[in-house]
Subunit: 256 residues, 2 copies
DNA sequence: TATTGTATTTCGCAT
DNA sequence: ATGCGAAGTACAATA
């Protein structure tokens, strides 16, 4: 009964219902079959009959996946509320209701292909490096990549219009505001930089420089930057990627 | 061989490798076991040994789920590149490489608990209603919710700085630009509205009104709106939620 | 095909 | 808890 992987008979019996309800929160449940679904919450969604996979993890997170795509068709975050199975009109019904938000999810299986209970565990951590904060950190440690004789003043400097990635002085002691993007820039990025420039020119009562650093600049963005006296610097992060490394998000999955 | 659900022997044999490679893109593959993973792409991530579930869908999307949480530990979007299994150092290794971005994902299974090939299909559509476009639509049909004697001119009106949700004339024939948010507002929402106002005042060469409609306004947002002659209107969408209904995203999963 | 904007965004971090 | 910005965002609509 407490074997690592248990294959249940895919037949809608009261025994199945009992076993499923007992497994919730104890083992991961993987169930495939033909179902409909209804979600009522921040949004409403209905899903007509189709074949899908339902996964209920030990932390009570719910995932219902269709045959394609990375995003689940329906889901619920961990520990939002009790989950129960019941038999209704010859269908296997899963129901959950979030305690706080009153959001509800119903999944009704008309047929079942397989049901698995799996007792997996995981104590390792996902290490990630190479995100935006790593890039800012790297630039601060190697300012000459941006330009010669740059003096870094601060990072994540708070202003009324947001946090400035890098605040620095150039070789003529002129203030340089830098926004760093890991991805291709968008018009919004340029607008944001403009707000920073305006903010500092108002505060300092003199011209300041402002620069967007990113791997790619679409024409529209480049044009806006030029028209607004904003600078751009293209950096292909891959070229410095191998040299940066950092451990973060050292997160251990809870042990149930 | 082409049964709907096939349970493979969870033993690392060359037969398993062959069967898995043959199943890729043909049936959904669900594999549980103890593995490590490495992703190298826009970011780098490493995942130490732990028990996880690997799912490869027929559209070649890859999901690797840990024992908790809704978000996969590693994943790949559909049709990004070929996927292959191989045997290496007595481990079952899954590898994929995106053609364009050169991003790679490696998953190495040290042990396998179960392997399933499943021939599910789904032709139904997820119907969603109550999202932002529904709200805009509802407001356009019931403009008096915004204010009396409002005349709607257009929706999704394109400007140099983005698309305006609603363009209208108030009871004094003054232009009113409206931005609708289903969620709590952020400073960026207010900045965006300001850009719209500036844009239209430049075009029209006279003052225009601009309003943000949303269920909630943090102090910082409210203050920015006040300081910039921008209006706000609080609407709790739940009050009108039950009355709006619409079908969308009528999308059929490809048949493989 | 590339761009744009939403999302039951999710997630981490700072307040 | 709330606020805020980044994300391998994913995904659909659109130009």
């Amino acid at each position: 009964m407490s074997q690592k992987t248990e294959f249940l008979k895919p037949i809608l019996s009261s025994e199945l219902i009992t076993t499923l309800n007992a497994a919730i929160g104890e083992r991961m449940l993987i169930l495939a079959g033909s179902c409909t679904a209804f979600f009522d919450g921040r949004i409403k969604s209905t899903l007509e009959l189709g074949e899908r996979i339902l996964i209920i993890k030990k932390d009570l997170s719910i995932l219902m996946h269709g045959v394609s795509g990375v995003k689940p068709l329906n889901w619920q975050k961990p520990k939002q509320g009790p989950i129960s199975f019941l038999k209704e009109k010859n269908e296997l019904v899963m129901h959950t209701k979030r305690k706080k938000t009153e959001e509800e999810l119903w999944i009704r299986f008309r047929s079942i292909d397989f049901v698995i209970l799996w007792a997996g565990s995981d104590f390792s951590s996902l290490e990630i490096y190479g995100d935006e904060s790593d890039l800012v950190k790297y630039l601060v440690e190697h300012p000459s990549i941006i330009e010669k004789d740059l003096q870094i003043l601060s990072t994540e400097f708070p202003t009324d219009v947001g946090y400035v990635d890098i605040k620095a002085l150039d070789n003529k002691k002129k203030l340089l505001i830098i926004e760093v993007k890991k991805r291709k820039t968008t018009p919004s990025d340029a607008f944001q930089l403009k707000r920073y420039k305006d903010y500092f020119e108002k505060i300092e009562k003199k011209k300041v420089r402002a620069m967007l650093i990113a791997p790619s600049f679409p024409d529209k963005v480049r044009k806006y930057l030029e028209n607004n006296d904003l600078e751009s610097k293209e950096i292909d992060w891959k070229t410095i990627f191998p040299t940066i490394s950092r451990e973060k998000n050292v997160k251990i999955d809870d042990f149930f």
